[in-house]
């Protein structure tokens, strides 16, 4: 535990000192366009969330080309559609790397799609930038996690509720898949560490697209009426949210009584909800469209211009792609080549501005530093930031609150070069062959 903390502290210090300013000399010979693979579902159930990320990438690439491309070469997007079908994700990743020979892939949303792509990317030694908040417990040499790890979203949010709002009783409600499961596990452990009794925690899981929330919401209502301030920590996924919030509103649960803090509800989800009754419910992200910085306003203007929709919204995963793309860009400049191994080494420590007025730095564990923002839903489908971490938080690949992983750290620099180094046994577990390199 202690050792680990020290190491991570050291790493982050070092990483931050590495911040790049100058770009490496442009590669002389033009070797044709640099291919950027985009692996987001354009059809099927995930199209709702993922198609906008595809457009974001196209926008960023277009812009980069207008500014003269990269290393004097144009960027060429290669778009494929894994159609929300998990095996197809693996197949398409293989297609991108083996057939189209792309230099980098930006893509995936769901955990399962990432898990399915992971072995392929590692086998063919590709680069994958993954833009969505996820459950952690993973660190791959070939994957860069630009979304939030649990310690960059869940835990700060709970802290806020505990300290600022004085919540004593917790409902952990989530869709039954790995992200909520893990997040809730971490939160449970964390809450108990902070003296919350077992019977002050209620955990509930529902299937994907669950639409009939009546009894669950009424349970929450009763659970919340025991005299202690209660909050719901929601890891409910996508489509299930609309009926959930509707039911909350109709059963008269106001944010003032039982606030709901959500980790999967962003501006885009809200754009499909009548937010009137939701005012005051919370969400924890690393970016909000309402953030009051010029960088953000410029980004929004570009986005509106690109989509041609005045009401187009931006959200956290889009920012993650924005950051990821710029980091990759910087790393390529720094390395002077798109060669995967070179970029992998170069990118660690790269810092680029985020949209919330700070900097994001790539950590040696392939996670990045992010500020954590807590926002309250407004009647216009936006969030107003009510609290944010004083400084950025470094993503933690392995949670300190899970018995399996509390002794694990990840550092992809030589000499350690290991995704899950056990600081107690001093050995690189699991993917030993990777460590052997």
């Amino acid at each position: 535990m202690k050792i680990k903390k020290q190491i991570t502290a050291g790493l982050s210090a070092l990483a931050l000192s590495l911040t790049v300013s100058v770009s490496a000399p442009v590669a002389a010979a033009d070797e044709g366009p640099i291919k950027v693979g985009i692996l987001h579902s354009l059809s099927g159930t995930m199209a709702i969330s993922e198609s906008t990320l595809k457009d974001t990438m196209l926008m960023l690439i277009k812009e980069q080309n207008e500014n003269g491309g990269l290393l004097g070469r144009k960027l060429e997007p290669v778009v494929v559609d894994p159609a929300s079908n998990w095996p197809l994700f693996a197949e398409k990743a293989r297609e991108l790397l083996a057939k189209d020979k792309v230099d980098v892939i930006f893509g995936n949303w769901t955990s399962v799609s990432r898990k399915s792509v992971l072995p392929v990317v590692e086998e063919l030694n590709g680069l994958l930038f993954y833009p969505v908040q996820y459950e952690g417990e993973e660190s791959s040499e070939n994957v860069f996690y630009t979304g939030a790890a649990p310690n960059q979203q869940a835990i700060p949010a709970v802290n806020y509720l505990m300290n600022q709002v004085g919540v004593k009783r917790w409902v952990l409600a989530g869709t039954d898949y790995v992200y909520p499961r893990t997040t809730n596990k971490i939160l449970e452990a964390y809450l108990k560490d902070h003296g919350v009794a077992d019977d002050d925690i209620m955990v509930n899981y529902t299937p994907f697209g669950h639409s009939n929330w009546q009894s669950i919401v009424s349970d929450i209502k009763t659970f919340g009426s025991q005299g202690k301030k209660t909050a719901v920590v929601s890891t409910i996924n996508g489509d299930a949210n609309v009926p959930f919030y509707r039911e909350l509103a109709n059963q008269g649960i106001k944010a003032e009584d039982i606030p709901v803090v959500a980790f999967s509800v962003g501006e885009q989800e809200l754009s499909g909800i009548d937010t009137g009754p939701l005012v005051g419910h919370l969400a924890a992200w690393n970016y909000f469209m309402s953030v009051d910085t010029d960088a953000n306003y410029d980004f929004i203007d570009k986005w509106v211009a690109y989509t041609g929709k005045e009401d187009a919204v931006t959200n956290d995963p889009m920012e993650a792609h924005y950051i990821g793309f710029n980091m990759w860009k910087e790393a390529v400049k720094k390395a002077g080549t798109t060669d995967v191994d070179a970029v992998k080494d170069a990118i660690i420590g790269v810092s680029v501005p985020n949209l919330t007025g700070g900097y994001a730095t790539m950590m040696p564990n392939h996670h990045i530093t992010k500020p954590v923002l807590i926002g309250e839903i407004q009647d216009n489908g936006q969030f107003s930031v009510v609290w944010q971490t004083p400084s950025t938080v470094a993503g933690d690949a392995w949670s300190d609150y899970l018995p399996g992983s509390k002794d694990l750290i990840s550092d992809w620099r030589k000499p350690l070069h290991c995704g899950n180094y056990n600081v107690v046994t001093k050995s690189c577990g699991g993917k030993s062959e990777v460590a052997a390199e």
Binding site: P207, N212, G227, G280, D379
Partner: protein, 534 residues
């Protein structure tokens, strides 16, 4: 919670100074400075300043506070002018000068600093406003205010309330205030008499107070509190039972709505219409479209969507029937494949033409919220309406099938096509009409569903399987069967859910259906004669 405490003090002052409110003359410098303080203050301080504003006796104060709590009080960055935001959608907001009330037109979001507000502030301000409301003549408003006070009373306020109660003539308000006081007394003073007042109250705050009392060291109080709680619990049990039943019925009625159209196309015509879900979806999107066309009056739009939704889906149905199904007479399993193809096309069509994202369908006020039977049991309005709607649709269909010429012809054709033909019934026309009817009803279901779930391209898929289960379980070709099946499956599901959990409940229901079909291969109410056979 020191903030709350300090607020409470303020409340009293502001209550005492109420008469002043309104008569005072506008004082812009003071206002400007107050608002500036408000803007710059930390969350902790904002409450205090809000109190001062309320006390300032400026007749604009109320407007400011409301705007503030709605997050619509903003400061123009360069001029430092305070504005009230009228519309905060898009990148440019229309605003109005907070002091002069002049219209300032649109200002870019970049140049505006909204004064941040959070939940606790919001409730504080509501507190302030509600206390002000306590003295207005409108009894309902007073009742609202009194309700809001339960659990927020403190010593100083208690006095004030006792005075108010004396002058209060409305019984409900009086009772509520009494309850509010009792809660305070139990919590702060451990007053056994107050416990009596609370026993039997279903209000959660009251229960909370009693709960806390059971931890007191005074055995008498402890006992009294426990007894009170016990009596409440028994009351609650009944309420919960009633609630579960209501949940079951509402889920059931949703199932019935979703399935009843299929009961026509599949049950009566024997068309395994996999595109049924998408016909529902069309209905939902019609509702959305209507609301887009009539901005600002979602209620009217919803009403109009009922015929519109029916029409849209019915027309789509006709198109499907003419273009595909008529070629698949007597090949039901093929209709399954073809219509499945159609459903894919319709989904993708919506994705490309409208958007892959969900659409916002606003719930009109008269449909949101719930009617309170008592403090513990309240029936959510939207579902209540849907139950009613489902029944209306069902009765309507029954009448059509039983009483109208069309119904007669439909039954004739399905019983014996050739015979019906020879009796001069235009079978093709009947087919079209029947399919249109079934599809139209699906559209109606869509209109209803738009009020409880996502309006998105996947809407249909989420209901198609359930719909088939309901129809098959009820017995193909039998509307009554569909009704009974829908309601019973819904109720079973809701009864199972509390102990089995949502997922397991659904699984169990499915398994139950499978086994039931073994026992009665033709469903609850088997159809006589030529049943819709594979």
């Amino acid at each position: 919670m020191s903030i709350i405490r300090s607020l409470k003090q303020l409340l009293i002052v502001c209550l005492l100074s109420l008469p002043v409110l309104g008569h005072a003359q506008a004082n812009d410098e003071q206002a400007q400075s107050l608002l500036t303080q408000l803007a710059d203050a930390s969350y902790a301080q904002k409450g205090k300043i809000a109190g001062e504003i309320a006390r300032s006796g400026d007749e604009r104060a109320r407007g400011w506070l409301e705007a503030f709590s709605a997050g619509k009080l903003a400061k123009v960055e360069d001029s430092g002018k305070f504005v009230i935001v009228l519309s905060n959608r898009g990148r440019n907001w229309t605003v109005q000068d907070a002091l002069t009330g002049d219209d300032l037109g649109e200002i870019s979001r970049r140049d505006l600093d909204t004064i941040r507000v959070n939940n606790s502030l919001r409730s504080e301000i509501d507190g302030i406003l509600s206390v002000i409301d306590l003295t207005v003549n409108d009894a309902d408003k007073r009742l609202e205010a009194a309700r809001g006070l339960r659990g927020n009373v403190d010593e100083a306020m208690a006095k004030k309330l006792t005075e108010l109660m004396a002058s209060e003539e409305d019984a409900d308000v009086k009772a509520t205030l009494d309850e509010a006081l009792a809660i305070y007394k139990v919590e702060e003073q451990g007053d056994i008499g107050a416990v009596k007042t609370l026993s039997g109250s279903l209000n959660s705050e009251a229960r909370a107070a009693l709960n806390s009392a059971t931890y007191s060291d005074d055995p008498a109080l402890k006992q009294a509190a426990q007894d009170a709680l016990a009596s409440i619990e028994t009351k609650l049990k009944w309420n919960r039972a009633a609630e579960t039943l209501y949940f079951g019925l509402s889920l059931g009625s949703v199932l019935v709505l979703a399935a009843i159209g299929l009961a026509i196309t599949f049950g009566v015509m024997g068309v395994i219409n996999m595109a049924h879900g998408e016909l529902i979806m069309l209905g939902a999107y019609t509702t959305w479209g209507m609301q887009q066309m009539l901005p600002g009056q979602p209620g009217l739009a919803l009403i109009l969507s009922i015929p519109a939704g029916f029409l849209v889906s019915a027309l789509a149905g006709v198109a499907i029937e003419r273009s595909v199904i008529q070629f698949l007479k007597g090949r039901p399993l093929e209709t399954l494949l073809a219509t499945f193809g159609i459903s894919l096309v319709l989904q993708q069509l919506v994705r490309t033409v409208i958007s892959p994202l969900n659409r916002t369908v606003v719930t009109p006020d008269w449909m949101s919220g719930s009617i309170m039977v008592n403090e513990a049991l309240s029936l959510t309005l939207n579902r209540l309406y849907i139950i009613g709607f489902a029944l209306v649709v069902f009765v309507g269909l029954m009448l059509i099938m039983r009483k109208t010429r069309l119904g007669l012809e439909v039954r004739a054709v399905t019983q014996n096509r050739a015979m019906a033909r020879s009796m001069g019934i235009k079978a093709t026309k009947v087919d079209i009409m029947t399919f249109a009817l079934g599809s139209g009803v699906a559209g109606l279901a869509g209109v209803a569903l738009s009020q409880i779930t996502n309006v998105g391209p996947n809407l249909g898929q989420n209901y198609i399987i359930d719909s088939f289960m309901v129809v098959v379980f009820g017995g193909v070709g039998n509307l009554w069967g569909t009704l009974v099946a829908g309601l019973s499956l819904g109720t079973i599901n809701q009864l199972l859910e509390p102990w089995a959990g949502a997922v397991l409940a659904k699984i169990l229901v499915l398994v139950f259906i499978i086994l039931f079909i073994q026992k009665r291969p033709r469903g609850l109410f088997p159809q006589k004669g030529r049943a819709a056979e594979g």
